[in-house]
Symmetry: C2
Subunit: 482 residues, 2 copies
Amino acid sequence: MGNDAITPREKDFSQWYLDVIKVAELADHSPVRGCMVIRPNGYAIWEKIQAGLDRRIKETGHQNAYFPLFIPESFLKKEAQHVEGFSPELAVVTIGGGKTLEEPLVVRPTSETIIYSMFSKWVNSYRDLPLLINQWANVVRWEMRTRLFLRTTEFLWQEGHTCHTTEAEAEEEVLRILDLYADFVENEMAVPVLRGLKSDNERFAGALRTWSIEAMMQDGKALQAGTSHNLGQNFSVPFNVRYQDQQSQMQYAWMTSWGVSTRLVGALIMAHSDDAGLICPPRLAPLGAVIVPIWSSDEDKAAVLPMAQTIADALRPFTGVKVDDREQMRPGSKYAEWEQRGIPIRIEVGPKDVAKAQCVMVRRDTRKKEFVPIDGIANAVRAEHEQMQRDLFQRALDFRTTHTREIDTWDEFVAWCGAAQGFGLAHWCGDSGCEAKVKEETKVTIRNRPIEYVQGTKKAEPGRCIKCNGASAYPVYWGIAY
Amino acid sequence: MGNDAITPREKDFSQWYLDVIKVAELADHSPVRGCMVIRPNGYAIWEKIQAGLDRRIKETGHQNAYFPLFIPESFLKKEAQHVEGFSPELAVVTIGGGKTLEEPLVVRPTSETIIYSMFSKWVNSYRDLPLLINQWANVVRWEMRTRLFLRTTEFLWQEGHTCHTTEAEAEEEVLRILDLYADFVENEMAVPVLRGLKSDNERFAGALRTWSIEAMMQDGKALQAGTSHNLGQNFSVPFNVRYQDQQSQMQYAWMTSWGVSTRLVGALIMAHSDDAGLICPPRLAPLGAVIVPIWSSDEDKAAVLPMAQTIADALRPFTGVKVDDREQMRPGSKYAEWEQRGIPIRIEVGPKDVAKAQCVMVRRDTRKKEFVPIDGIANAVRAEHEQMQRDLFQRALDFRTTHTREIDTWDEFVAWCGAAQGFGLAHWCGDSGCEAKVKEETKVTIRNRPIEYVQGTKKAEPGRCIKCNGASAYPVYWGIAY
């Protein structure tokens, strides 16, 4: 499993992560502070993520649109919590066309304010609602400590923005999207997630309520993979997003916003990969299979190359495929390179295989090797893809299960923090001060309140707050977050 | 053909253009100076454009990647012509995270400099070439006079950037892309284009040579629809993009860049639409057909609605389709609305049609009405789409032909300028000063030198420059440009 170019996970997880990104050529640091370059191999995964999400977003009735990159500074100030949350992170354009601007323009850190200034023009009657809009865009937040994919000054994302006639309908939308995100991340990325409600401390700046999906990485840390916000009327009032209801009364709209970003690529890397490089789930792999023909003479080459092409043609209808026919490179070096890049299936064809009308199929994650008859190769690869997709999910789920602990007392909590592995399920009184103290002393924060408890589909399990011993209706998830 | 909400083309072409955008809900002005909002109907067309181009760009071996929005100011200054060309148009970030930046960051007006700073890391050996990269991104140019889609401070585009070992290979790439653009614009957008070489005055800032495709709008003006630049070694030298050749010598790479933008949406509007609203070519129409069921009683409704759904199901496999079953809206109002939005085919189904197992099919551009049996509706719509696609192209081509004139003398040229209709094919000595004088006196510029003459596939036709009477090898295209 070793690979000289990659630091083992056990030794240094952070360095391992950067090494995998480097050898798989997923991204690169840029000369611009905190900004990354997404290289073709990484961008191809992002395109697969976009396609899977975009389909789901459209199927649920949303339409894509595009709004300006720049936001007048005054817009951000219209919602008090919003500006407080984002002010420290802003990049500001003060010069345009050689002149100092009268009003500085903020490079969007998120687009609520600029989008809702347009919604106020577009929404007039209850007939205009619900308004269901999504945007694919770049955003900028001036982060102090950056990390490829996970936290960069500029990142790519989608942000949904919707208007509704009632609070209940807005909450339905928020939960529909939470389920949409969970469905995508679990079924396409093969990463299990916990759905739940964020605490007030971790809520989006300007929201009534923020729901999240939380994933566990192989180092036991939590990664918030997506958020869905019920904004209530916090933005419709200052931005005057109003509609005339069926009784001809003017009403403020109920709004939501929600987003996922290129940090999902980071989640994918940290959830599945190993010390040999990237492991990409088949459904998100731009290349589902690579075929390495093996020859040591021109005669062999003339036999194996057409066979490699035949196999490629058989696979192409359902997956990306490449024949690696590079000269002057040993097959072993090719294997290592494709392993680093996380291609799910490798197929080897040598002269002996051609004679037997077979090939060797090797799975990236398990390294299971199998001889497969050429005429059954398409079905074999398809079946192995499906099995690998299921196995990756199950492995990640098992990992999360074995790294999640119920914790009853503060002493136990502190001991667990020392180990800092995984999620703790522990009681909390609901007080922001208690949560802040825990964070200060241990770096651990509340990831979310399990949706089953919040919605009452699971019976409350009263207990005592691990920090203050106050009453608690149910335990919540704790962890150290990326 | 009249429509109260739309100014007729004859009366005021500019206002007509804005009116079509408004009634078709393609875009909207934003509160940010010169920036537009692309509304869902407009963005859906852009997504179709992206899909058609992206497929062609990938089929020719290019890979997508993503580079930072911000460019250190010093990078832009490394190529003298480049900085001179773009300096007046820059938006500059001077504050980040609450602090004044040591080096201001320019919001990319185009990405040559930031991308080539990365290429200098990635390119080491001749084995790394050709390097064929494309980026989909937003860019910002501080324009003084803006116009929805055609010229906005921020716009969306793709920009290709490639490195090659020889000048000839770079020129091949530049021409391959020019053909790719022409193929897309002619076959998907149904807009005929003239391929050719830009004059020095109109060349990209920093390029050796710029090729363009030029389209004619219904007011006779020219719209530059795409450009492809041979950058020579103008950027590889200052950005140190070097490779070791097969003889172990270090060589500077030969580079190209090329792009098309959201202005293509403007071209589509102005090439085809009429006084009733947008006309969208079927291949780029997000909705290829709309079905309007007609009823005046609950009984009728129970008969026509299922039939409308049956038709929709038959069309869905090959085109976007919508059943307009809105209550309390007369069919006539629905027809007008879908005409404004440019949906290629409208299908009307009333109770009598249901009884006869037929429907009425109406084509947007010709308004040709036809009764079609329900069981043949899919083939009928598909055939009509194909015919409409061909007809739109032919109509635009005929328009261009009748609005293109050969002009031999300066007097003739000046008289033609007064009419300001279409392209003039007239001789030019090749001198930038001559071109500048013509522009100053008439607003007319050289659109391009026809590729057939430049490449010598068409025999030279010597003549005399209309301005200075100097020698000229072949005539060039002149026009007033958007």
